[in-house]
Symmetry: C3
Subunit: 206 residues, 3 copies
C-alpha cells in the first residue's frame, strides 16, 4: 500500500473502533448484557459500510478483511470493561467520532467513484457509510435516531462527499480530493459541535 | 419504451414521490431536522424496492436509474418546505398513496415473474415492494408500524399480486395482467379506506 | 440427500416453524392485525438466514427453496388461529426454540465453512443465522430486543459455532462436528433457562 492508503486504512480501523465504543456507551443506558452491547457495537461500527457494500453488490468489507470485525469486537468489549469500572462521558468520543465520520465518508465516496458511479450516487454512498451505523445503533436501542435531531452531522458528510466527487471529476489527484473532502467533513462537524449549528425543523403539532 | 411501459414508469416515479411525502408528514410529528426528514422520506420511498432488489440479487433500482433517487429527495424537500408554511393533513396523501401501492405491487410482482420466479415468490416480492417502505418509515420514527394495525393495506397488495401472477400463468398479456392486478389493489384499498375494512386481531392481554 | 442431511433439513423446517410461532406470540401483545402478525412471524423465522445469505452473497434460502417460506406462513397463521381460541403461554415454545437455535447455528456455520470462510467469519454467520430473527421481531414490535437482556442465548450459539468450526478444522467429519456443536448449543441454552445463567451488564445511570 502507498503512504496515503496505509494512512486511510489505519484511520478506517480507528473509525471502526470509535464507533463500536459509541455503541457500547449508548447501549449502556439500557439494561443490556455484554452480548447486547457487542451487537450494538458491531451494528454501529460496521452497519454503514455493510449497507453500502450490499447496495453496490461488493463483498462485504469485514468479510473481505477480518481486521475490521476483530477491531470492532475488541473495541466493544474493552469499552464495556472500562465502562464498568470508570464513568466514561459520551463527550469523550466526540472528537474521534468526528474523525471516524470524515474517514467513513471519504472511503464510501471513493469506493463508489472507483466502481464508476457518478457524483450523486457516490456522495449518497459516502453519507450511508458515515451515518447508517449510528441510525442502526439507535433503532436497536429503541430510541429515536440521535443524528435526526442534534447538531449538524450528516450534512457535513454530504457536502464533503460532494466536494470530493467534484474535485475528482475536475481532475484532482485521489489524495488531494480525499484530503480536501475529509478535512471539510471534520472541520464542519467540529464547528457544528462548538457553535451548535443545526438544520431547521418543523413540528406538525402546532 | 412502449406506451404501457412509459405509463408504468411515470406512475412509478409518482409513487416514489408520494411515499417520500408520506415519510416527511409522518416524521413531522417528531422533532427531527431536515436531514432526518429526508432520510425517513428516502426509506419510505425506496426501502421496499431496495429490499426486493437485494433479495432477488438485482442491481438496486435507484442506483441503476438515478431518476428515482432524485425524485425522492426532491419530493421530500418540497414537502418539508410546504409543511413549514401550510398545515398538510396526512389524509391528503391517501389517494396518491393508494395509487403508489398499486404501482409498486405491480412492478415488484412483474420483476420477479420476469426473472422466472413462480407465483408465490413473485407475489411476496410485490408485497415487499409495496409495504416495506412504510414499515421502515415507522421503525425509524420509533413507532409501531401503522400498516400492522390500520385498515386493509397489505392484503389488497397480496391479492392483487396473486391475481397478476395467476393471469400471467393463464396466458394473459403483460399489459392486461398488470392492469387487472393494479386496478384490484387500488379499488380494494380505496374500499378499505371508505368502509373501514380491517383484518381480525387478537390481544394476548385478555 | 443422505440421512444426516435429511435430518438437518427436517429440523431446519421445524426451527422455522417454531420461530414463526414465537413471532406471533410476541406480536400478540400489540394491537396488530393478522397481516402484521404474519410479517413479524416471517421476520422472526427467515430474518437471520436472509441476512446471512445477503452477507455471503448467496441466493436467499427461502427463494431457492420455497418450503421454508410456506412453512413460515403456515406456522404463523396456525399460531394466530390457535392463539385466538386458547391461551398459549410463551414458555410452551422455549424447548423447540432452543432446538431451532441449535439447528440455525449449525446450518449457518456449516454454510460459511463450505464457502471457504475461516472459523471467525463462520461462527459469526452461525450467530447471525440463530439470533437476528429474534432481534428483527422485537424491533418491528417497537421493543428492546429480548435477547439483549435475558438468560444466555447468543453466547451458547457462538460457543457452539466455534466448537463446530474447531472440530472441522481439526479434521472431524461433518456429521460429528455438526452434532457436537449443535448439542453444545442445545444443552447450554437449556441449562441457561433452568439455572438462569446470565451475562454481566452495566448501567450507565449510576
Amino acid at each position: 500500500m502507498s503512504g496515503i492508503d496505509s494512512l486511510l486504512y489505519g484511520i478506517g480501523l480507528a473509525g471502526v473502533a470509535v464507533n463500536a465504543a459509541s455503541g457500547v456507551l449508548e447501549a449502556g443506558r439500557k439494561p443490556f448484557d455484554m452480548f447486547g452491547m457487542v451487537v450494538v457495537a458491531l451494528a454501529a461500527a460496521l452497519g454503514g459500510g455493510t449497507l453500502r457494500d450490499l447496495l453496490l453488490d461488493r463483498t462485504v468489507f469485514w468479510i473481505a478483511d477480518r481486521s475490521f470485525l476483530i477491531c470492532a469486537i475488541t473495541a466493544g468489549m474493552l469499552t464495556f470493561g472500562a465502562a464498568r469500572h470508570w464513568r466514561l462521558p459520551p463527550q469523550l468520543f466526540l472528537l474521534p467520532d468526528a474523525v471516524g465520520l470524515a474517514l467513513f465518508t471519504v472511503s464510501g465516496t471513493k469506493i463508489a467513484l472507483a466502481l464508476g458511479h457518478d457524483w450523486l450516487i457516490a456522495s449518497v454512498m459516502g453519507v450511508v457509510t458515515g451515518v447508517v451505523g449510528g441510525i442502526l445503533r439507535d433503532v436497536l436501542c429503541n430510541e429515536e435516531p440521535l443524528i435526526f435531531t442534534g447538531t449538524l452531522y450528516a450534512t457535513p458528510a454530504w457536502l464533503g462527499a460532494l466536494l470530493l466527487a467534484g474535485l475528482t471529476e475536475a481532475g484532482a489527484t485521489s489524495a488531494v480530493a480525499a484530503l480536501a473532502g475529509g478535512s471539510f467533513v471534520l472541520i464542519t462537524r467540529l464547528g457544528a459541535l462548538r457553535w451548535n449549528w443545526r438544520l431547521p425543523t418543523y413540528s406538525a403539532r402546532r
